[in-house]
Amino acid sequence: MTRTLIRYALAAIWLVMAAGCTETPEPEGFAGLADSAPESDFHQPSPEDRIELPEDWGPHPEHRIEWWYLTANLETAEGEPMGIQWTQFRQGLEPRPEAEEPPPASRWPLQSAWMAHGAVSFQGNHWFSERFARGNIGQAGARAEPLQVWLDHWQLEAVEPGRWQLTASGESWSYQLELVPDDRIIRHGDQGFSAKADNGQGSMYFSLTDIAISGTVTVDGVGHQVTGTGWLDREWSSQFLRSDQQGWDWFALRLDDGSRLMVFRVGRGEDAFRSGTLVNADGSVHSLTRGQIRLAAESYRETERGDIPVTWRIEVPSRALDLVVNAPQGDYWNAGLYPYWESPVTVTGTANGEGYMELTGYTQ
């Protein structure tokens, strides 16, 4: 099989990124997929699937797409808010049973391609970098136990039980952070199967919502000591969004009352698929269905790449939640191969809080 359409494969990664981070499916993106194995060859997630830990921290070569997605709301020693993002994606081009060994590295196999994104948001500025690698040669990969996810010299690594280290750097920015994850694993949807459409499509999805973070973030040569809290999503699937599902809006919010809320919307308009998870302060987890969530953009910001909804109203009437989510001033486009918006947010309304917002499908 010729493998010269790697760009398209990467476009495909983007199309499915984070079960979202999804542009309007571009014909060229799907055209490129013709070069990889058909979707049916990959294992399809279903409500019968279960999340197995720690194994599921590792890669899923039988599945087509997966990612490790960390966002964090930090604060410098001076009390200024700062946001960081680290994400690593894997795109399978050929499925491989998990028990089977990958081809030898000397053959430079291309069963999978990897992409990593790193970003820092501070004082209205946004720094972003991306890196690419082919899988199974050691340049990029993931391991469940002890946890290690890496691409080049960027990596998330468990240095001892319950303590992780995250290192990444780009032009004009870098961070070296210590992460202490909480032991509360949130399984979204139906015990981890998170539906993305009415026809049963979905992904396996779990999160760590409260990761204590400390360390150093350097921007433009100035180091900042930071502390704060992160949210890590772990998700894998084999299905791309349906071609009629345009855009992806995702929110991960930590509220001051101790509750945590994740909501997303796939597509636009009344028919958009909505779903979410509410974790109460007492730790009880409630899946939210389309009818339970109201999500509306309230104000837009003009940017070079398109108008971005920066103020949102999120309502969950059954849980008496009425929140207004705001992105701070600035331009938070991750201007990579396929641009998307990733910004820290503040929350007001029936509860205050903070979190992250990821929007795709708004490029002009």
């Binding site: 010729t2 010269t4 990467l10 000397s106 391609a113 970098s129 991306e130 082919r134 191969l337």
Partner: protein
């Protein structure tokens, strides 16, 4: 009120307004196009050069071959390395290069971002190349890093790329000449604008004089005219800028597509830049000021002085005196400017003299000659502007063609043979020589030894580079020499020397010159039997035959150039490398595949040349429009006289033929006048600027085929102008006694 009166001219002649706006817009388009294209050509050349020479190999200090694990390890260390897997194909002489598109961003010095797509021979995905390697084809994996990247981890070191090829001064020279031509294009277009504007102004003299008689002061009138010009310029600059960018994009896009498989298209990225726009704006302001200066001084359309031809001759002479012996670029540019100015002053008078009628001519021919004389006088400025524009176009074409030819010749010379092998340090040549001689599949080979030599000149000893080779090799004898004695290769084999052009110029060496050569402390007097072109670097070099090297000579670098036999009798690259490795008893060799490098270099630089050619197309476009415009304006102003032809009994058709013949003769006259300017400019570019800047010349070449293409274009313009001038109603003669050079005969 006054403004309305001033502008009323354009109400009566809206096409003139359109024409003036058009020339301003097109000139702006040319500037922004030239700015963009020269920028792209520069980027293209620089990027291409860095692709060829700007990388280094990363090798293990223990000498072991690198592996995919090494690649991953270096990347995990944060080093931006990219893999390059060369694998022999079934055709023993060919090979493919496997690259990892996901890692190729590093080849452009970018640590992040995606790489570029490469599709097709010789570049394939590295997995495909590895598959071939696994099926038994010989393969070499190299890891490259761009120069200046981070420090290496322990156990690793950088090494020059045997596949590297620096175009060095050849690139620099091309870019310098490109800049000089860009400047000339800008000046010529400014001259075109001024000529069109001045011509239009002369036609308005009557109405402006009327306003003066009504009491409008001359100063106020001029200020209004200046304002009018500024408004027109402002209206022309934005669409002109955008048009230029669009044209540059179209031209660059076409060429970029040809290389789309090889390099990222951002190599050709244009995009609107603020700097480009500001430069264009400043240019327009300067040209408006130039036109305005004449207005304010009140000498627009001044009569051509009879002293102009004399002044022209003096300027040409002074320019020549400066250019010929010039030792600095400033002097060359100054002298060239004087020559061009002198040509501008002389040309109208010279043409007038050449076209002066003879009383024995048939009446219609006599009439045409007289009209041509009038036109040469009236259109002095447009004529000179067009002459210089056409001359520039000829020079651009010659420059690009010359560089292209030279570049390909230089590549052929530098990349002679199929394979280039570095002799491992400390290993003698003999075992490899014995093995190579025993191989039927090796067509020919020769060693190249590089070192230093002393040159005894005028009692002092100078260090120069020394190149020693087997000068009986046909690969060497294919070199074309710039100057030589009658049997240079035989004389070289007998112990004499060749010198490179840089050394010949610096030391004033010619074929037949004697010099004292000191190699390994042994001195001998030799004769220079030839001079060869050596564009890549500034150093002086002497070439000798290896058989005449003294015993104590220690070479700094040794290599073998090997040409494989064609067809089935040829030895494969992998067998060749294996044989040499066995002969020298080493684990690996540094091997360069000349064909791949040649193909890569050619594809890169063809793009640069194509971009540069497009500058000449843009200049030609502007010159053509100016030609049509000025010709049409002036001939329309003489329509009344042309009407008299009917009174002589000529039919409408005969009248049109006569006028077309007249315009054709006028265009041919401009074309003829442009030829010496074009040749002179080409000569200055290749024969004066290069020696002064770099110490070597380029071969001077002329391209009569292209001149004929230009003549065809001029002929086409003549037909269009002739047709326009002979159609429509005839008007009363324009009173333009002070029209630039204007006079009635």
């Amino acid at each position: 009120m006054i403004l309305r009166a001033v502008l009323s001219h354009y109400r009566r002649h809206p096409l003139q307004l359109l024409a003036l706006w058009l020339i301003l817009t097109l000139a702006t388009a040319l500037w922004s196009g030239v700015w963009s294209l020269t920028g792209q050509a520069r980027d293209s050349m620089t990027a291409g050069d860095s692709q060829l020479s700007g990388r280094q190999q990363v090798v293990r200090s223990d000498g072991a071959p690198v592996t995919v694990a090494d690649f991953a390890s270096l990347r995990r260390h944060g080093l931006c390395v990219f893999p390059w897997l060369q694998v022999a194909t079934d055709d023993a002489r060919g090979q493919v290069v496997g690259i990892d598109p996901l890692a190729m961003a590093c080849s452009r010095g970018a640590a992040t971002g995606s790489g570029f797509s490469m599709d097709g021979q010789p570049f394939v995905d590295i997995a495909e190349a590895a598959e071939r390697a696994a099926s038994g084809h010989s393969a070499t994996l190299r890891l490259y890093v761009t120069k200046g990247d981070a420090s290496l981890p322990e156990g690793w070191q950088r090494q020059g790329d045997p596949g590297g090829l620096s175009t060095g001064e050849l690139s620099d020279s091309f870019l310098l000449n490109l800049d000089a031509l860009g400047l000339l294009v800008v000046l010529v277009s400014a001259l075109l604008i001024r000529s069109v504007y001045t011509l239009g102004l002369a036609q308005r003299r009557e109405s402006l004089g009327l306003l003066e008689r009504y009491g409008v002061t001359r100063r106020r009138l001029r200020l209004h005219l200046l304002l009018e010009l500024m408004v027109l310029a402002a209206l022309g600059v934005v669409p002109g800028y955008l048009l230029g960018q669009g044209l540059a994009d179209v031209l660059a896009g076409g060429f970029g597509a040809a290389l789309g498989n090889l390099f990222e298209t951002d190599l050709l990225a244009t995009g609107e830049s603020l700097t480009g726009f500001l430069v264009t704006l400043v240019m327009m302001i300067l040209v408006v000021l130039w036109c305005g200066l004449d207005l304010l001084r009140g000498n627009a359309g001044r009569t051509r002085s009879k002293a102009h031809p004399v002044m022209g001759a003096v300027l040409i002479l002074a320019g020549m005196v400066l250019v010929v012996p010039a030792q600095s670029l400033v002097t060359v540019f100054l002298g060239t400017g004087l020559v061009l100015a002198g040509a501008g002053l002389m040309t109208p008078a010279l043409l007038g003299w050449c076209l002066s009628p003879s009383p024995h001519m048939p009446p219609l021919k006599l009439w045409r000659r007289r009209e041509l004389g009038v036109l040469a006088g009236r259109l002095a400025l447009p004529l000179v502007a067009l002459q210089l524009a056409a001359g520039t176009v000829i020079a651009v074409h010659a420059l690009v063609s010359t560089f292209e030819g030279t570049f390909h010749e230089w590549l052929d010379q530098r990349l002679a043979g199929d394979v280039f092998v570095e002799v491992p340090e400390g290993k003698p040549l003999a075992p490899a020589a014995t093995w190579l001689e025993s191989q039927d599949g090796v067509a020919q080979w020769h060693p190249v030894l590089r070192g230093a030599a002393g040159l005894g000149m005028n009692g002092e000893n100078r260090q120069v580079d020394l190149m020693a080779t087997d000068t009986t090799s046909t690969l060497i004898r294919q070199w074309s020499l710039l100057a030589s004695v009658s049997q240079p290769w035989q004389a070289l084999a007998d112990g004499d020397v060749l010198v490179n052009e840089q050394l010949a110029r610096r030391q004033d060496l010619k074929p037949g010159s004697q010099l004292t050569l000191v190699i390994a402390d042994k001195e001998r007097v030799v004769e220079v039997v030839g001079v060869y072109a050596d564009y890549g670097r500034p150093a002086g070099e002497v070439l000798v035959d290896t058989r005449h090297l003294p015993d104590g000579f220690v070479s700094g670098f040794r290599s073998l150039t090997i040409d494989l036999a064609d067809g089935s009798g040829g030895v494969s690259r992998s067998d060749l490398v294996a044989g040499l490795e066995a002969a020298w008893q080493v684990g690996s060799l540094q091997v360069r595949d000349n064909e791949t490098i040649h193909r890569l270099a050619t594809r890169i630089f063809d793009q640069t040349f194509a971009l540069t050619r497009s500058i000449s197309y843009l200049t030609l476009l502007l010159a053509g429009v100016a030609l049509l415009m000025t010709g049409w304006v002036v001939l329309r102003s003489r329509a009344w006289y042309f009407g008299l032809l009917s009174a002589w009994g000529l039919t409408h058709r005969q009248r049109r033929q006569t006028i077309t013949m007249l315009t054709a003769e006028f265009m041919v006259a401009i074309w003829v006048a442009a030829l010496p300017v074009g040749i002179a400019l080409t000569w200055v570019l290749v024969d004066r600027i290069n020696p002064v800047a770099f110490g070597w010349t380029l071969p001077m070449a002329i391209y009569p085929g292209y001149w004929l293409e230009l003549l065809l274009l001029f002929g086409l313009a003549a037909v269009v102008v002739g047709w326009l001038a002979s159609s429509g109603r005839t008007e009363a003669p324009v009173q333009a006694p002070r029209l630039d050079g204007g006079q009635e005969r």
